[in-house]
Symmetry: C2
Subunit: 401 residues, 2 copies
């Protein structure tokens, strides 16, 4: 049932322990669900309550600590011994009186880890300010260190099996993009296109079933394309509008994000020209990808390309991606932007998203890729251009005739 061989998990843990040793961390508390999955296989929508994986430098296996009703899920989805699954009672959940970190601290004390150098993921959705306060209060003899991106950094370079899963995700995502774009016509409600995309993302292909992406399909239309993170409404599309579709196929929690922009009817010359500036910069930046080049060098190629046309982009050009849970499919490690001197290595995977957002409209055409031995392999083969949808006739009731 595990998506990877057990020795792949163990190798990942060895890499994490090497870094722990170098940083003087004896015990690592992992609360990022992607990192929990990466090291143990644990996969469930239980991250809305406190849970963690505990890596102890001188112990073979991690411990899983979580809610009592989720312990069976941990037994079903991880390679850990059942004895290493330690549940806390339900009265700790979202309580005014009890906090799960009180329970977890007492377990750590009982097993002799209460006075050690403990790494915690300080910058992480699932390690709240309160959780940290409770741990500090209940483990007064521990020394805490910030280990926020420790495991994420190990995840930067993918194994061949991980790359295979991202390729399946890309196949699913490309199919969903096609279904979505096909459905975008004046008079169709935005939510109906979102429903079509979701169906394609989850049904996947005949061979591979889709997993839920860490971000919902984003598909702002018209003026709302000026804001990349608006979701759909129940309004119908209007003729002449542009629609941005940003989505990710997902397979066994691995993502392949992809964005395209479609114009309902003929776009303005200015918008069409803008799309060419964008794809020219995107193509040049992709061509610059190879091992040894830094993230900021890739971004510079893009920036100089669009600057020739008088265009500036305020935000980063892209980010490392792969295994993830909501609310983000990015890995929060390397970014394609000025100042990021991460050196590209084979099997790093990125989402390059040259989105441009102005006050009244925006455009996105993106690609996900892996760094190869020689250059770059783009995961999708979806046409890399501004797409144009010919309008369908609409009858007076607003239905497509």
């Amino acid at each position: 049932m595990l998506p990877f061989a057990i020795n792949e998990y163990q190798e990942r843990i060895n890499q994490v322990k090497d870094i722990m040793q170098k940083r003087g961390i004896e015990v690592l508390l992992i609360t990022n669900p992607a990192n929990m999955n990466y090291l143990s296989g644990y996969d469930a929508w239980s991250f809305y309550v406190h849970q963690m994986l505990v890596i102890i430098l001188d112990e073979d296996q991690p411990l899983w600590l979580g809610r009592y009703q989720d312990a069976n899920g941990a037994k079903a989805t991880t390679w850990l011994y059942d004895d290493n699954i330690i549940p806390y009672p339900d009265y700790y959940v979202q309580s005014k009186t009890y906090h799960p970190m009180g329970f977890i601290a007492s377990i750590l004390s009982q097993i002799g880890q209460g006075n050690r150098h403990i790494g915690v993921e300080m910058e992480n959705y699932y390690f709240s300010a309160k959780a940290y306060e409770m741990l500090k209060t209940n483990l007064p003899n521990a020394t805490f260190k910030d280990a926020s991106q420790l495991v994420n950094n190990v995840r930067l370079i993918k194994s061949d099996q991980e790359i295979e899963y991202i390729k399946r995700a890309a196949e699913i995502g490309g199919h969903a993009m096609q279904k979505g774009i096909q459905g975008i016509h004046a008079g169709v409600r935005e939510n109906d296109v979102a429903a079509t995309i979701y169906h394609a993302l989850i049904s996947g292909t005949d061979t591979y079933g889709g997993d839920y992406p860490a971000i919902v399909p984003l598909l702002p239309a018209g003026k709302k394309t000026s804001a990349p993170h608006l979701t759909w409404s129940e309004d119908p599309y209007q003729a002449g509008e542009a629609v941005i579709v940003e989505l990710a196929g997902c397979y066994k929690r691995y993502h392949a994000p992809l964005a395209r922009t479609v114009s309902i009817g003929k776009p303005s010359q200015a918008f069409s020209d803008l799309s060419l500036v964008l794809t020219e910069g995107l193509n040049k930046a992709l061509e610059a990808v190879k091992p040894g080049v830094t993230c900021e060098e890739i971004e510079r190629v893009w920036r100089e390309s669009i600057a020739k046309h008088g265009i500036k982009k305020e935000s980063r050009l892209g980010y490392s991606m792969g295994l993830s849970y909501p609310p983000d499919w990015g890995e929060h490690t390397a970014s394609l932007r000025p100042g990021d001197q991460t050196v590209l290595q084979p099997n790093m995977t990125f989402h390059m998203i040259p989105g441009l957002w102005f006050d009244n409209q925006g455009i996105e055409i993106s690609e996900s890729f892996r760094v190869t031995e020689q250059g770059c392999e783009v995961f999708s083969n979806y046409p890399r251009e501004l797409l144009i949808q010919e309008p369908l006739p609409i009858d007076q009731s607003g239905k497509i005739s």
Copy 2:
């Protein structure tokens, strides 16, 4: 475009300010996206980066602080003056060098709020341990107070308009449950049923478009029903398995959760009997709901009912729900469990979920309801029983013939 009249938002802010005053909080930093939406209307999938709404006791309007590329979304979806939308540059996002709370602290200082009593939502997915540390470091003269459930508690009692949205969500959710259950047959892949459910949830009805629920549809099958938070796999269902379907219809971010269990073919007598114990307890607990009764009294009715049959439930019976964002549709305030003395009042809304999970199987049959003047109104009218799906013939290729 706003889902509520501006004076409803202003009334909510007045209620929040009253509590702030009583608790000695002069400035409230709201990072829970549901609370941000509740007070300002803000609605976007941007909560994966730091953002907040700032309520200042002696200022009329809140401030929105967030990422530069999300500022247009804030202008489009809130009732705030454009001048109150304050963006931070993109280089603060997921950076090793800069933290958005550094920017936010400097804004608070500039507007004379740096030395005040500041409330923060300590227990919240979107206020990390690191965020709190950065705020404390950059605002050394501020006094911080935990205001975790301050706004959530105001949300407990819904307005009539909010109830109307939950009813629309329930209509959408009931429709999705029907489509999902209809599709569950031996030989069908779990992900294909999830895809059908998602399509129904988002397409909604002819009148109301669906929004994305804060939790994905949960549909464990067979032995996996022993763990409530496992999501789907790409495996086909087996004849004789039970399948739990837990989902929520969602409309304008308001949820109506619903769970049912379906047996593929005739269930065992023991499982069928168990379902009757569950529905008897559920019915009695729903009958006990009325204003003036406490949450723990409702749970006791359920507990005593199942105890007569020798059954115990480890976890809480239910929780307050309504407006939400991933990863949870619960409000994190009142729970139906021992010790919770919250007094029921009209227009409180709960998900009562008497799930029972054993080592090899589980069962869930739930209802969402509102407290009325006299008793309780259940939002769904889906048959409240263990459902039975007659198996379809399967040919040797595994396809339904």
